[in-house]
Symmetry: C2
Subunit: 358 residues, 2 copies
């Protein structure tokens, strides 16, 4: 193995515990001893063995982030913020992929107990509320973006119903009457699909418009394109589509454009997630932007409070902010095909100023 406290203590001519005290910044150490120890520490290039420290303290300093798929932009963007927020607590983050699969989600919830991980942030898809409630494990758990209310664990999400309603209202506000919803799911026990569907329905009902709902198995571009193609081939194609996430929307746009129809002239398209792709697609994509940094920070904070024991009370439900970003896929740019100044994109935002609400 490497250099241990023993080795350092030996070299510095003090006890192991004294070295430990220096390493941990204990106050009552004489300047002379401290100097000797620090000399020895740097001479041997000591690094604490975290396995041992963790064994002693019962903590690992590792949290898990369990997501359906890390390579879906929404999740990878979110991961970035979670990793950053965790780093502020000196935690490191392992990523677990569940593929939205029930068995895998169970495994993750189970595997928490192997003492390798202090806490878990889970984005559940397949696992049901009852099953989560029945879990005996007392490891800290935070749910991310799901629909479970008054459930067994803390959770954070945007107000999905309201966000979906806002988007649908926006589409209706453009004068569209045949607004379709794309992205409903049958088997999602705790995903956001039912909430978004509910928001869509509220808005449609408020304007006495007929609903069109298309289901998909997964939330990728391919599914969005396939579902949109089916809609286009139907007897009464929509003049606007609210897709339950941006990937579906991008796939749908691709299908519309390939069919020869125009976005938004013939069909307006809106998504939800604000992934980077939508800021640079042609046309750029109208979407709901959850405050991902805030989501991540809240999730990590909730976990922290559970871990340091400052909260034992019942599960809390936190809401993160979102903004509606209106872009070209629902409202065309004022000057179409105008040449762009070279620095137009340097801000990293879309080519058109975002209109925000909430």
């Amino acid at each position: 193995m490497g250099v241990s406290l023993r080795d350092v203590a030996h070299l510095a001519g003090v006890s192991v515990k004294t070295v430990s005290n220096v390493v941990n910044g204990y106050a009552h150490v004489s300047p002379l001893t401290r100097a000797k120890v620090e000399q020895a520490l740097s001479e041997l290039d000591y690094r604490p063995n975290l396995s041992a420290r963790n064994l002693r303290q019962g903590r690992t300093g590792v949290i898990a982030l369990a997501l359906p798929e890390i390579d879906k932009p929404y999740f990878s963007e979110l991961s970035r913020f979670v990793i950053a927020a965790a780093a502020e607590q000196r935690w490191i983050v392992v990523i677990e992929q569940t593929d939205g699969d029930l068995r895998r989600e169970r495994q993750v919830l189970d595997g928490v107990r192997d003492h390798r991980i202090d806490g878990l942030i889970l984005s559940p898809v397949a696992i049901g509320e009852e099953e989560l409630a029945a879990r005996t494990d007392d490891t800290a758990l935070v749910l991310l973006g799901e629909r479970i209310h008054d459930g067994p664990a803390d959770h954070v999400a945007i107000d999905n119903v309201r966000a979906a309603r806002d988007v649908t209202e926006h589409l209706i506000g453009l004068g569209r009457t045949r607004v379709a919803a794309l992205g409903a799911q049958d088997n999602a026990a705790s995903g956001t699909a039912p909430l978004r569907l509910a928001g869509y329905r509220e808005a449609m009902a408020a304007h006495r418009l007929a609903e069109t709902v298309v289901k998909v198995e997964r939330y990728g571009r391919a599914e969005g394109a396939a579902a949109m193609s089916a809609l286009l081939a139907s007897a009464d194609p929509p003049d606007a589509v609210f897709c339950f996430n941006d990937l579906l929307a991008l796939g749908a746009m691709r299908a519309i454009l390939s069919s020869g129809a125009g976005v938004p002239e013939d069909i307006a398209v809106a998504g939800l997630d604000d992934i980077e792709d939508g800021r640079f697609s042609t046309p750029t994509l109208t979407t709901v932007a959850p405050d991902k940094a805030q989501l991540a920070r809240i999730a990590v904070d909730l976990l922290k409070q559970r871990l340091d024991g400052s909260v034992h009370r019942p599960a809390r439900e936190m809401r993160a902010d979102y903004r509606l970003l209106i872009r070209e896929s629902t409202v065309p740019p004022l000057r179409r095909a105008a040449s762009l100044p070279g620095d137009r994109w340097t801000g990293g935002i879309g080519p058109r100023p975002d209109v925000s609400s909430r």
Copy 2:
């Protein structure tokens, strides 16, 4: 803490070591004892404490994957495969973000020694060859996609020079003569930019064409769009652009289309990485597809061989395969604006059959 071997041993009426033997599948345990122990194990729902096990064995079962940015599609797609390949070895993966920053890359290389991690897969950007060579740490290290040869550590990458040459040859083969390269970098000590630039130059030189090289700071859509806007505004705009990654290419396409020019009619665009976005952009993006699954598997295998001590010899250099995928951004579809059958995308590939080489 939780249930320990001690507790199980007590309940089963055997020694701690016997329980340990059962848990670890030691052969010489009598059927009767084994039954008793297993009964107790499941009754108490025992989970091994990995901190303790790791302390004892000097292994943690955790590897780190250090990337510039997890939310860049290429890296998140790659992460998916690395996590999957690591899972087969029963390793879990922590993600470290370096932002391509020298200080952070150093920290990561340094932090390996805290015994929290058995090995490291690093995608280096800023850190130089000399510095890597000077590292004293003997922790297993595998470099991913960098240009260091005969260096201090194992590494895996595609043949970047050849891939870049293939792309450039393809553009030239279309009859384009003003082929620009977009994505060179000044400060990348070990990134792939110089290799891709070299490949571009080889091809241009072979056809006696004049080179146009545009530098960028980072590899995002915004930078691609900004750089392309600058090119469009120049005295002699290109008729083809080879972008050093797909994000740059997508940004560049957006800038071209917004300017009123057509892709590929006026300017052909090609990228490198084969991120999912490029399979569904309008037009779809011609690109080089590294075999990411193979890259991940080789990286994990190299790490494994180092960890189990089966290899001590000098650093090895491994090549992963790639394919050139020719799509609409360089070769338009045969029937533009034709309506699409509904199942056209269900395979998850692009709307046009990919042409592959190598």
